[in-house]
């Protein structure tokens, strides 16, 4: 009988007798459920945030920030530089022949969460091309702000997270309150933010310089020429970057630390589950000592027995991981969350679930290995005699 067939038969015997060892087996299942449930619940936050950042970035657009800027808020591009940036090659043209580009403003704006705690969101300025640059922008209710007027529009998620963010509400800005005249959706991070007319916002918050310039590239291949034109001009001192790369960088900066905490906690819990797995599998092997010895006596190989022990552990652990993932998915996937000034939907992606399954397999391998070796090595005669 070949080795695969042996493994199959021994494993089948194992699985059929699982219900005799139900409670003991549940230790592995519950252990892995807890590990995967906690890990995926925590990672759903960073995964959702990361996804929102990636959604916000469009590889067809490029962002220009001042050299070395780590955020749009810290970047400053003075008015005299704008002309040079708009004249650079590689920018798509609007129907009227002007470059499809928009110098923008980006400021923190104090808001109050629904629970009464003070927080901060982002107030953006859109210029005349702001909407043309963003085909993902749709007005949901009310109307657009008028250029030159002290009015704002609000993203659809802002009002579910912050107080006073409905059409008709007023937002405090220097020298008076601005009414919210409409609400919009872009399907990305902007949904948690406020937008007004760039020049009017700049005047209100006393900003002499723009924060950044967003341009639509004529084609993805146009970026190198655009970048070269800006970076070779020493008077500009700006960093052009694909908008998608920019948000990837920002996302990494904001999610890395929380990810480290989540994985740290996940690893500690997995170690706990691992001890549980070892315990269970040692007991399982001991309980089936005679059965295994009988199998060995009638010619089944030690290797097949060992593999079947690991397979049993893996099946139980994977089942636990999937249950944990189901918990995390039901509780958090698609629910709206906020971290810092970002509003987004928590996400338990198939990739995360796959990772939890891999963790389960790893725990089962480590936790099943020693017991499987013991099972395979135990002298047949001794095991048969044991009571």
């Amino acid at each position: 009988m070949n080795i695969l067939r042996q493994i199959e038969i021994v494993s089948l015997i194992n699985f059929r007798s699982l219900k005799l060892r139900l409670w003991r087996s549940l230790v592995i299942v519950v252990g892995m459920t807890c590990v995967s449930g906690v890990l995926l619940s925590m990672l759903s936050l960073t995964e959702g945030m990361h996804k929102a950042f990636l959604d916000t970035g469009d590889p067809g657009r490029a962002l220009v920030v001042s050299a070395g800027s780590q955020s749009e808020g810290n970047s400053a591009i003075s008015r005299d530089k704008i002309r040079f940036i708009l004249d650079a090659p590689g920018i798509a043209k609007a129907p009227d022949g002007s470059p499809l580009a928009d110098p923008g403003i980006n400021s923190g704006v104090p808001v109050t969460r629904l629970n009464g705690i003070k927080a901060s969101s982002i107030l953006r300025g859109f210029g005349p091309k702001g909407i043309m640059l963003r085909p993902e922008f749709h007005l949901v209710s009310g109307r657009l702000f008028r250029a030159g007027t002290r009015e704002l529009i609000v993203g659809v998620n802002a009002k579910t997270q912050f107080q006073g963010m409905n059409v008709g509400d007023k937002v405090i800005l220097p020298d008076g309150e601005w009414p919210i005249v409409g609400s919009f959706t872009t399907g990305d991070l902007l949904d948690g933010q406020l937008i007004g007319d760039t020049e009017t916002v700049m005047k209100a918050i006393r900003r002499p310089a723009y924060n950044s310039v967003l341009v639509r590239l004529a084609s993805p291949a146009a970026f190198p020429a655009f970048k070269a034109a800006l970076t070779t001009n020493p008077a500009l001192a700006v960093d052009p970057i694909l908008q998608s790369d920019w948000y990837k960088k920002i996302s990494e900066g904001q999610t890395t630390f929380f990810n480290v905490i989540a994985y740290g906690i996940g690893i500690v819990m997995a170690v706990g589950a691992l001890f549980g797995c070892l315990n269970t599998m040692y007991a399982a092997v001991a309980a089936r000592g005679r059965e295994i010895a009988t199998l060995r006596a009638i010619g089944y190989g030690a290797f097949a027995v060992a593999v079947s022990v690991i397979l049993e552990a893996a099946a139980l652990a994977v089942a636990g991981a999937l249950i944990g993932a189901a918990f995390a998915w039901t509780l958090y996937n698609g629910t709206e969350g906020a971290f810092g000034s970002n509003v987004f939907k928590l996400t338990v992606s198939p990739l995360l679930i796959g990772m939890a399954v891999l963790w389960a397999v790893a725990v089962a391998l480590l936790g099943g290995l020693l017991p499987s070796i013991r099972a395979a090595r135990r002298p047949v005669v001794e095991a048969l005699r044991a009571t």
Partner: protein
């Protein structure tokens, strides 16, 4: 005490099982210690936060280097319900390289009244206001920059220029202060008057923040709202919050830290509950006949119950002690691993937390032993002895 050998034999019957259970429990209690320790740290910060203290800063602009006219502080001081007001200037910057960031808080004479709970003696305050280039560093900051009293501290600020246009600020360290739970990064305090006069004329008289005490803690929230309203239509609208509100543990960057830490700790407890429950159930099942013998020779149900509970409790309590001990050691190491400015305080593993851990371990043991005990008290001794149960 005479049960001790019995329990020891039971526990050591399968040393591997006991060891693995103990390790698993220890791991769960490492999480328990860290999570509830973090909770405790937040509680300390919340408890220290004063209901009557109010911070207010500019609604727009980051306030670095000063955006609010000093007149605003005077106007606030004149508002009814205000006890004392201090004007604060921030000096953000870095040491040598922009990745080594440092944040100086420049305080005026009134500051000592507003932050009277800070561990800074009167003579240090006096020295700070007498010596214009003097600063006070907390221990964490002093350790970070390898500084001691009397040393010179030089930093560069991109946001705040001196009158001569230079960005380099040099200070002398007057004292090293004790750290504060709410300032997990430590603090550096300087002289408000010095930075104000050292700035270019156009920037003088501008401040970053106004801190104040309310006459009555009960009306502080209302006072904060009044301040916001009073300046809502001005050139510098303010963003005002009470100390209590700012330190809420229900909202750390939008996350409910307490709920998260509790959830994680409970998941860990649930995991080991299954493990220990299964372990003790197996142990009792294997020795069913032995328990029947014990009952035959006169052990009461209560004695048998005690035996089983203690057998379950031994690895739980030892594991909890081991886990919380490791958590306490880890809590000391964590601050060094956090990126500066993240603001998560290091967990506080206090004796109270250790008692809670012990109690939780005992509850886990009780719950795990419940079913086996039920079986033992209902056992039919004759059939158990004959091996038929």
């Amino acid at each position: 005490m005479r049960y001790l050998p019995l329990i020891w034999t039971a526990v050591m019957r399968k040393p591997m099982r006991t060891l693995l259970t103990l390790l698993s429990v220890a791991v769960a209690f490492i999480l328990f210690g860290l999570m509830f320790g973090l909770n405790a740290s937040f509680d300390i910060v919340v408890a220290r936060a004063r209901a009557d203290r109010i911070f207010t800063g500019a609604r727009f602009g980051n306030g670095n280097g000063g955006g609010i006219p000093i007149a605003v502080a005077h106007q606030i001081a004149a508002m009814p319900g205000v006890k004392v007001v201090t004007a604060v200037n921030f000096l953000p910057g870095y040491v040598q390289d922009s990745k080594y960031s440092v944040f100086l808080v420049m305080l005026d004479e009134n500051a000592r009244k507003v932050v009277e709970d800070w561990p800074i003696p009167a003579e240090v305050w006096n020295a700070l206001h007498k010596d214009r280039t003097g600063i006070v560093m907390s221990k964490i900051q002093a350790a970070r920059w390898h500084k001691k009293v009397g040393d010179t501290f030089t930093m560069i600020s991109r946001a705040v220029k001196r009158a001569d246009g230079s960005n380099t600020w040099t200070f002398k360290i007057l004292a090293i202060g004790d750290d504060l739970p709410e300032q997990s990064n430590g603090y550096v305090l300087g002289n408000y008057d010095y930075i104000d006069k050292a700035k270019p004329l156009a920037d003088q008289g501008k401040i970053s923040e106004v801190d104040l005490l309310a006459n009555d803690p009960a009306t502080a929230t209302e006072l904060a709202q009044r301040i916001d309203q009073a300046f809502a239509n001005s050139a510098t609208p303010l963003n005002t919050t009470t100390d209590k509100m700012a330190r809420s543990s229900k909202d750390f960057n939008g996350l409910d830290i307490k709920a998260i830490t509790r959830g994680i700790a409970l998941a860990g407890m649930f995991m080991v509950l299954f493990l220990t429950g299964n372990g003790i159930a197996e142990s009792v099942r294997e020795r069913f006949a032995e328990f029947a013998t014990l009952k035959t020779i006169g052990f009461s149900d209560r004695a048998v119950t005690a035996l089983v509970v203690l057998e379950a409790a031994l690895p739980c309590i030892l594991g909890a002690a081991l886990g919380v001990g490791i958590a306490a050691i880890m809590a000391h190491q964590l601050p060094g691993l956090m990126p500066p400015g993240f603001g998560l305080p290091p967990p506080t593993v206090s004796p109270v937390l250790m008692l809670w851990a012990a109690a939780s371990a005992f509850v886990v043991a009780l719950l795990s032993a419940a079913l086996p005990i039920l079986r033992l008290t209902r056992m039919d001794i004759a059939s158990a002895l004959s091996g038929r149960a």
